[in-house]
Each structure stands twice: as structure tokens, then as C-alpha cells.
């Protein structure tokens, strides 16, 4: 058991993350300051929540690139249209989740019914969602309505850096993040549904014969991903204290990369919540610490790209070696 832990992807990613943090601390002296950590958690929270939904999808061999579009669309529609109707922030969240759920169900139905490549289908729905938001609802920067603004301003605590004098607040949304992470972990590890998700990723036909309802499970996954995207969209607007409709574009890439870095295999059937979160943490630290390391921020994308390639290459080579080991064993058995 112990051996397995030291060989796991989670261990390596955690190790790299720890070393990176220490290196940045040594170079800048500012990494482990309270406000930097709070800022990191803030930056980490939204993509980490997306990671949970995306992880489910990737474990079943799919990939969902529509969640930034769903989140943006749900956020904009809710924030711009519901202002006059209600002042209960909970209703805003519920409405956004409902919008997300509908799109998620559409995704799930098309993918599960016709067995199309998930990437292409979700690319299509992503385009539709952005089109609806920008064309039909004429999205633009929009001031956040009062109830959500108030919610966004409430904070758990705030930290001031004695050296730079900068203050960072820990938003209430963090509680939602922890809740969602727990739900994700619970579904994957403690329920039959979670077993089904892993089983479908391993071998869809075998899962079906073992009695798992493949169609329903896939529907659930995409619906869950969409529903959560709606929630996260509104949460994001409360964190930014404004409605930025185009702000989430391109986040799908970071999230997929984080999942895969953390050991969620695109070939399906493998991955853990901890791994995906560690992967996201690594990318967040790299993304946010370039300034501390006095590297020009134009380099950001280069670093992210390089990390994705190196990370996925390592896991690809690992799985290749595993496959080779398997054949060697068979050969030895024969002779």
C-alpha cells in the first residue's frame, strides 16, 4: 500500500508542487506570506470547481469543453434578467444551475445516445452558448446586482501583508468550493454511481454487462457538469464583483490540463479528486507566481503549454511502460 502511494501520480505532482513553492519562497521571500496564499486560493477556487465536473467526464473517456460557455451564458442571463424579479441570491444560483442543467442534458443526450466524440459535440454546444449570450442577449460588461454584490463582499477573513501592505480577502464562495469537492469525492468513492463512472471509463461494454446503466450514467455526468458550471458562473461574478461575460473563455484548456496532470487518464477509467486538485494547484501556482519570480507575464502561456506537454508526456510514457510490462509477463509465462 505504501509503495503504491510513492509510485502514484498524486505523489509526484504533490512533490513537484512542494518543491516549486519552496523555490519561489527562496527566490522572492513572499510566497508563504498570508495574503499571497489567500490570493492563490481565490485564483484556485473557480478552476478547481470546474475540475470536479471535468474529471467525471474525462474518467468516462470523454472531454467537456463547453463549461466556460455554459457558465458565462448562465451567469449573464441570470444577472442581467433576474435583477427586477427577486432579491434572493439563492434564486439566482438556482436559476443559473437550471440553465446549466438544460445545456448539460443536451450534451449528455447527444453524446450518450449517438456515441459521438464528446469533444466535437461540446465544442458545438459551446459555440451555441456563446452565440446565444453574445447575439441574443447582447452581452457586455454589466454591473453586478445588489443582492449578489452584497454576497460577494462578505468575507470569511482578510489578511494584510506587513511588507507590501496589500490586503486579501477570503471570499465566502470558498465554502461552496469545499462542499463541491466533497460531493465529487463522495460520488466517486462512496456510491455505486461512482463505481459506474470508473467502470464505463475502463470498458463500456463490460460495464454494461456488469449491470451499469451506461446511458443514464453518461447523462448524469454531463448534466452534473453543466449544472455545476451554471453555479460556478454566478459564483465567479460574485467573486469579481462584476459580470465579465468573456472572462472564462479559454479556461477549459487549463482545467483539462490540470486533470490530466493530476493523473486523470484520457484513456479513461483512472483518476482521483486529490490528483485533479493537485494538478490545478500546480497550474495556479505557476500562473500566479511569475510576477513573484520577476518573469514577464507574457511568458505565462508558454509555461502552461510546456507543463501540459511535459506532464502528459510523463503519464503517456508511464502507461506505455505499464503496457509493455504486461506483455513481458505474458511472454515469460509462456516460455
Amino acid at each position: 500500500m505504501k509503495r503504491r502511494f510513492f509510485k502514484s501520480t498524486e505523489f509526484y505532482v504533490g512533490l513537484v508542487l512542494a518543491l516549486l513553492c519552496i523555490a519561489i519562497q527562496l527566490k522572492s521571500g513572499q510566497f508563504f506570506s498570508g495574503n499571497n496564499l489567500v490570493d492563490l486560493v481565490r485564483a484556485f477556487s473557480i478552476p478547481a470547481m470546474f475540475c470536479i465536473g471535468e474529471m467525471f467526464v474525462i474518467i468516462t473517456k470523454g472531454v467537456d469543453v463547453s463549461f466556460p460557455a455554459i457558465a458565462s451564458m448562465a451567469m449573464f442571463i441570470v444577472c442581467s434578467k433576474m435583477e427586477a424579479l427577486t432579491s434572493n441570491p439563492l434564486l439566482f444560483f438556482l436559476a443559473a444551475m437550471l440553465i446549466g442543467l438544460v445545456v448539460g442534458l443536451v450534451n449528455g443526450y447527444i453524446i450518450a445516445r449517438f456515441k459521438f466524440p464528446a469533444l466535437i459535440v461540446t465544442l458545438g454546444t459551446s459555440s451555441i452558448c456563446f452565440g446565444i449570450m453574445q447575439g441574443v442577449f447582447k452581452s457586455r460588461e454589466y454591473p453586478l446586482c445588489a443582492p449578489l454584490y452584497e454576497l460577494g463582499q462578505t468575507k470569511l477573513f482578510s489578511v494584510t501583508n506587513p511588507v507590501s501592505g496589500l490586503t486579501s480577502d477570503m471570499p465566502v464562495g470558498i465554502i461552496l468550493m469545499l462542499l463541491l469537492i466533497f460531493v465529487g469525492w463522495f460520488i466517486l468513492n462512496k456510491t455505486m454511481l461512482g463505481r459506474g463512472i470508473y467502470a464505463i471509463g475502463g470498458d463500456e461494454k463490460a460495464a454494461q454487462r456488469a449491470g451499469f446503466h451506461v446511458f443514464r450514467t453518461l447523462m448524469f455526468i454531463y448534466a452534473f457538469s453543466g449544472c455545476m458550471a451554471g453555479l460556478i458562473g454566478v459564483l465567479r461574478s460574485t467573486m469579481l464583483l462584476a459580470v465579465h461575460p468573456n472572462n472564462l473563455m479559454g479556461m477549459e484548456m487549463t482545467v483539462i490540463a490540470a486533470c490530466v496532470l493530476g493523473g486523470v487518464r484520457m484513456e479513461g477509467g483512472k483518476g482521483s479528486v486529490l490528483g485533479a486538485l493537485l494538478g490545478m494547484a500546480l497550474l495556479t501556482v505557476v500562473d500566479n507566481s511569475l510576477i513573484l519570480l520577476e518573469i514577464n507575464t507574457t511568458w505565462q502561456k508558454v509555461f502552461v503549454g510546456a507543463i501540459i506537454i511535459i506532464g502528459t508526456a510523463v503519464s503517456a510514457i508511464q502507461s506505455k511502460r505499464d503496457a509493455q510490462k504486461l506483455t513481458v509477463q505474458v511472454d515469460e509465462g509462456r516460455s
Binding site: F116, I120, L123, G135, M253, I256, T298, V302, I308, A313
Partner: protein
């Protein structure tokens, strides 16, 4: 008449596309009449589609082998940025006009080689290292775009010699230069995919990697060739874009990725690999461009509605192809 029927029966997908093409053409011509049927409209169409047409062909090659190349736009932009970076540094007002042409020629060849190299990186990561195509090209997309951002500092690079824009904007025998470039590479692609051994091997690879291995093909080399073709065509598209915008930027044509996948799928390339033909893709390019120009003629329709239309169309076409292939399977089993 019999000959036409034979052709129709031989390639049903192609004939369906031709029917769609004619139908769309008729609708556009009917709704917008002289505005749509004018020479200038066709000339502007000829200038607009080559860039994403070339990208669509590049995408079709990778989908054909059950892969995908998400980095096409990034490669196009990075190649264009490199040219835009080098040209103003090398060419000074004192350079003689002949010298300018030589430098331009060399720079363009260099950009094409560079695009091929980018493709080779993709092919290496996918074929040799064994990363799934989505991830590998996602990573290189970030990397290439990142490099372009570093080189340009996020701004637009202009100040190109006049010859670039003049050359790309010119008409030869009434045909816009980008259109001629597109035609040349489209014909070459049709040849490679449908008539050459390489195309045949790629189809084998797309149908089944294992079968291809056991047939004695060098899969790594095939992946390399496949993605190098895609990188090369992307670089050509990048140069066309350089000429059309008369500048280079890290994020030109960001929405093209989705559009070119749509075109490739519309053209009958099966995203699970091994099925499809280039002629279909080329007709699909014309169909999409025609719809696009037609929509442009309505001032009330914002550009964003096009995104909705492309998305809906992509999914509908997928479902339609699915239904057709199911029906054919049923027929075959009877």
C-alpha cells in the same frame, strides 16, 4: 445521364454535398439576387475563405487518422508572427526591389518549414511519446500561442513591406491570389489523400492503429507525416492571413478551430477516423463560406448568430451522418 447516375452512386456523400451546395447557392441567389451574384461578391468570397479553407484541410487530415489538431490556428499565427518579426528588421528602405522579393520568398519558405516543424513536434508527441492527440495539440496550442505572445508582446505587428499586402490582394486573371494558393494546395491534398500510398496508409492508421502496426507500417512515421502536413497547411494559412490583415497577431482567427472542425465533419470526415474524402471537405468549405457571406448581407444579424448556426449545424450534420450510416449498416446486414 447514366454516367451522372453512376458517379452519384459511387460516392453518395459527395453527391449529397453537391446537392446541398446547389441548394444553398440557389437560396442565397434567390434571397439576395444581384448583390449575391455580383463579380465583386465572388471576388471577396475568394479572398475570405482560403485561410480557413486551408486550416479545414489541415484539420481533415488529422481527423482522418482519428486524431485532431487543435493547434492549427496557433501554428498559423506563430508562422505569420515570425515573418512579421523578421521582415521589417531585414528589409530597409535602401533594399533594392529585387532583393525585397528574394527576402520575401526566403521568409515565406522559412515560415512554411517552421510550420512543418511545429507539426513534426505534434506528430512526435502523438506518435512516439504516445500522448492522445487532443492533449498533445492542446499543449502545443498553448505553447505556440504563448511563443507568439512573447514575440509580439501581445500587440499587433504591422509595418510589413507593401509587397506582402499588394501580392495577396492582387488578382491574377480575375482570380484573387489567395484563391489560387488555396486551389493549388487543395488539389495537392486531394491527390495525397485519395491517390497516393501515403493517403492509403493514413486511412489504415485511422481505421485501426493495431491493424496498421501488424501490416508492417511505421506508425510513428505516419503520425509524423500526418501532422507535418497539417502544420505545413496551417503555415500556408498563416501567410494568407498575414497578407489579408497586413499584420500579425497572436490571436487572429481564434474562432476558426470550431469552424474548421465543422467543415471537416460536414465534408464527411468521420471523427473516429478512417472515413472521408477531401473532395467533400472542399465542397463543405464553399458551403460554409457561402452561408457566411450571405449572412453578412443582412445588417440586422450580428456576427454572433453565426456561432449559434455553426454549432447547431455541426451537431445536426453529425446526427445526420449517424442516421445515414446506421441505415446503410442495416441494408448491408440484410
Amino acid at each position: 445521364m447514366g454516367a451522372i447516375q453512376r458517379v452519384f452512386n459511387k460516392d453518395k456523400n459527395l453527391s449529397r454535398l453537391i446537392v446541398v451546395f446547389l441548394a444553398v447557392f440557389a437560396v442565397c441567389a434567390f434571397m439576395k439576387g444581384s448583390l449575391f451574384l455580383s463579380v465583386s461578391n465572388f471576388q471577396s468570397i475568394g479572398k475570405q475563405f482560403p485561410e480557413f479553407g486551408l486550416l479545414a484541410i489541415a484539420m481533415a487530415f488529422t481527423l482522418y487518422t482519428a486524431g485532431i489538431d487543435l493547434s492549427v490556428v496557433a501554428v498559423a499565427n506563430l508562422s505569420a508572427v515570425l515573418v512579421a518579426k523578421i521582415l521589417p528588421a531585414v528589409i530597409t528602405p535602401e533594399t533594392s526591389p529585387e532583393m525585397v522579393l528574394v527576402i520575401l520568398f526566403l521568409a515565406f519558405i522559412g515560415a512554411l518549414l517552421f510550420g512543418t516543424l511545429c507539426g513534426a513536434i505534434n506528430g512526435f508527441l502523438i506518435g512516439w511519446v504516445g500522448i492522445t492527440p487532443i492533449l498533445a495539440t492542446l499543449g502545443t496550442q498553448a505553447l505556440f500561442t504563448g511563443c507568439a505572445i512573447v514575440l509580439t508582446n501581445g500587440s499587433t505587428l504591422g509595418g510589413l513591406p507593401k509587397e506582402v499586402a499588394n501580392g495577396m490582394g492582387a488578382n491574377v486573371l480575375g482570380l484573387p491570389v489567395p484563391f489560387i494558393i488555396f486551389a493549388v494546395f487543395a488539389l495537392l491534398s486531394v491527390f495525397v489523400m485519395e491517390k497516393s500510398t501515403l493517403g492509403y496508409k493514413l486511412r489504415m492508421l485511422g481505421t485501426s492503429v493495431k491493424a496498421s502496426t501488424f501490416s508492417g507500417f511505421n506508425n510513428v512515421r505516419l503520425f509524423l507525416a500526418n501532422y507535418m502536413i497539417s502544420g505545413f497547411l496551417s503555415a500556408v494559412a498563416g501567410l494568407v492571413m498575414l497578407g489579408r490583415f497586413n499584420s500579425a497577431k497572436a490571436d487572429y482567427g481564434a474562432s476558426y478551430v470550431m469552424e474548421v472542425i465543422l467543415i471537416a465533419v460536414l465534408g464527411g470526415v468521420d471523427p473516429y477516423g478512417g472515413k472521408g474524402n477531401m473532395k467533400g471537405v472542399i465542397i463543405a468549405i464553399f458551403i460554409v463560406q457561402m452561408i457566411s457571406s450571405w449572412l453578412n448581407m443582412y445588417e440586422g444579424i450580428s456576427n454572433f448568430y453565426r456561432q449559434i448556426i455553426w454549432g447547431v449545424l455541426l451537431i445536426l450534420v453529425l446526427i445526420y451522418n449517424y442516421v445515414v450510416s446506421e441505415r446503410e449498416k442495416k441494408k448491408a446486414s440484410k
